[in-house]
Amino acid sequence: MDTIRINKKEYTVAVDKEMPLLWFLRDHIGLTGTKYGCGVAQCGACVVHLDGEAVRSCVTKMKRVIGKEVVTIEGLSEKGDHPLQLAWKDVDVPQCGYCHAGQIMSAAVLLRERPDPTDEDIDDAMTGNICRCGTYTRIREAIHQASAMQKNGSR
């Protein structure tokens, strides 16, 4: 049987392997935190971690995911206390809130690879995630803050 691990839980995959992961998450196993925004890998609302990389689940077919490890916003932290989630709260980032699961999942990969990111690093990592409400400067601030929290050992 084809299986994948999502948020540390094993799932058997009995669906069309050409279907993008996004719809498996949303329609088949009820993990709706990952959003549909464009379907063509342009907006970043659907970003999840596939073996640690910030893939866009709207174009990532199930056949690529079989046997791999997926983390979604629901599994980023046990108690919603990832430094990014705490910083997002502290900076009061969201407006409508729709894009932020994708924003946070992207930022998590950034912080893993650049624990102390510069503004340019943030540009390079976050330009793939559209926020229609325009909260970009707050996202930037929250990422810097999460970086500082991470450094100070709060996680």
């Binding site: 063509v40 890998a41 990389e53 910030a54 893939v55 690529r64 950034l110 690093d121 990592a125 793939g128």
Partner: protein, 219 residues
């Protein structure tokens, strides 16, 4: 096909028959026209031990073949991933890739925007969706192999300069014509124009150019 096979050599047969120079003579000729660096080491133009690549200097043939090569390399399908900056281009109009993903040290993107995060091992269905191929990438940061904005003269020089072409020898250069990502250019997915020549025509011209002296057109 990763190797310069006998089948490919067969296609070049008519050149080989008409210009029977010894390999040594060819090397000497290349030395004389000053683009020696690509082919100066005897081992670089041999495939295995049996089949040697014959290089027969012919500036007319070489330059004619390069016209085809250049037209293909300047087509959006090739040029877009050989940009002059660190951001790939996209579309038939060579615009900057949306969301400005950067090359990264290995040419595979960086951070959250690694090429493979969006570009699958195959084209995604639909218009203006991410094209794909195994190992989708740009030339690495230390060897950018820029096509964008290069004149035919500049590009010809650059292609055979090991310092600029990833230390590719004649064999590796020829093999590159059959690289999966190069061949993607002829299967680019919905809505993307093909290069102006077929892959077979390109490959033949590429090999001809390389094996007739890799002459660079005038400035």
């Amino acid at each position: 096909m990763k190797r310069f096979s006998t089948k490919n050599r067969g296609r070049l047969g008519h050149y080989a028959q008409r210009y029977r120079f010894s390999i040594t003579m060819t090397i000497l000729a290349i030395l004389l026209i000053g683009i020696v660096s690509a082919f100066s080491n005897d081992s670089t133009h041999r495939v295995g031990t049996a089949a040697a690549i014959e290089v027969k200097k012919d500036s007319l043939k070489s330059l004619a073949a390069f016209k085809t090569v250049y037209a293909v390399l300047q087509s959006p399908r090739c040029l877009n991933c050989h940009p002059s900056g660190d951001i790939p281009l996209q579309g038939d109009d060579n615009r900057l890739h949306a969301m400005f993903p950067k090359r990264g040290p290995e040419g595979k993107g960086m951070l959250t925007m690694k090429c493979a995060n969006c570009h699958q091992s195959e084209n995604t269905a639909g218009l203006k969706t991410p094209p794909g191929s195994a190992d989708w990438h740009l030339p690495p940061a230390n060897m950018k192999m820029v096509f964008e904005g290069r004149t035919a003269h500049e590009l010809a020089k650059q292609l055979i300069d090991p310092k600029q072409n990833g230390n590719k020898d004649l064999k590796a250069l020829i093999a590159h014509a059959d690289d999966g990502l190069v061949k993607w250019g002829w299967d680019p997915g919905e809505g993307r124009t093909l290069p102006p020549f077929t892959h077979a025509e390109f490959k033949e011209a590429w090999i001809t150019w390389l094996t007739t002296g890799a002459y660079a057109p005038g400035k």
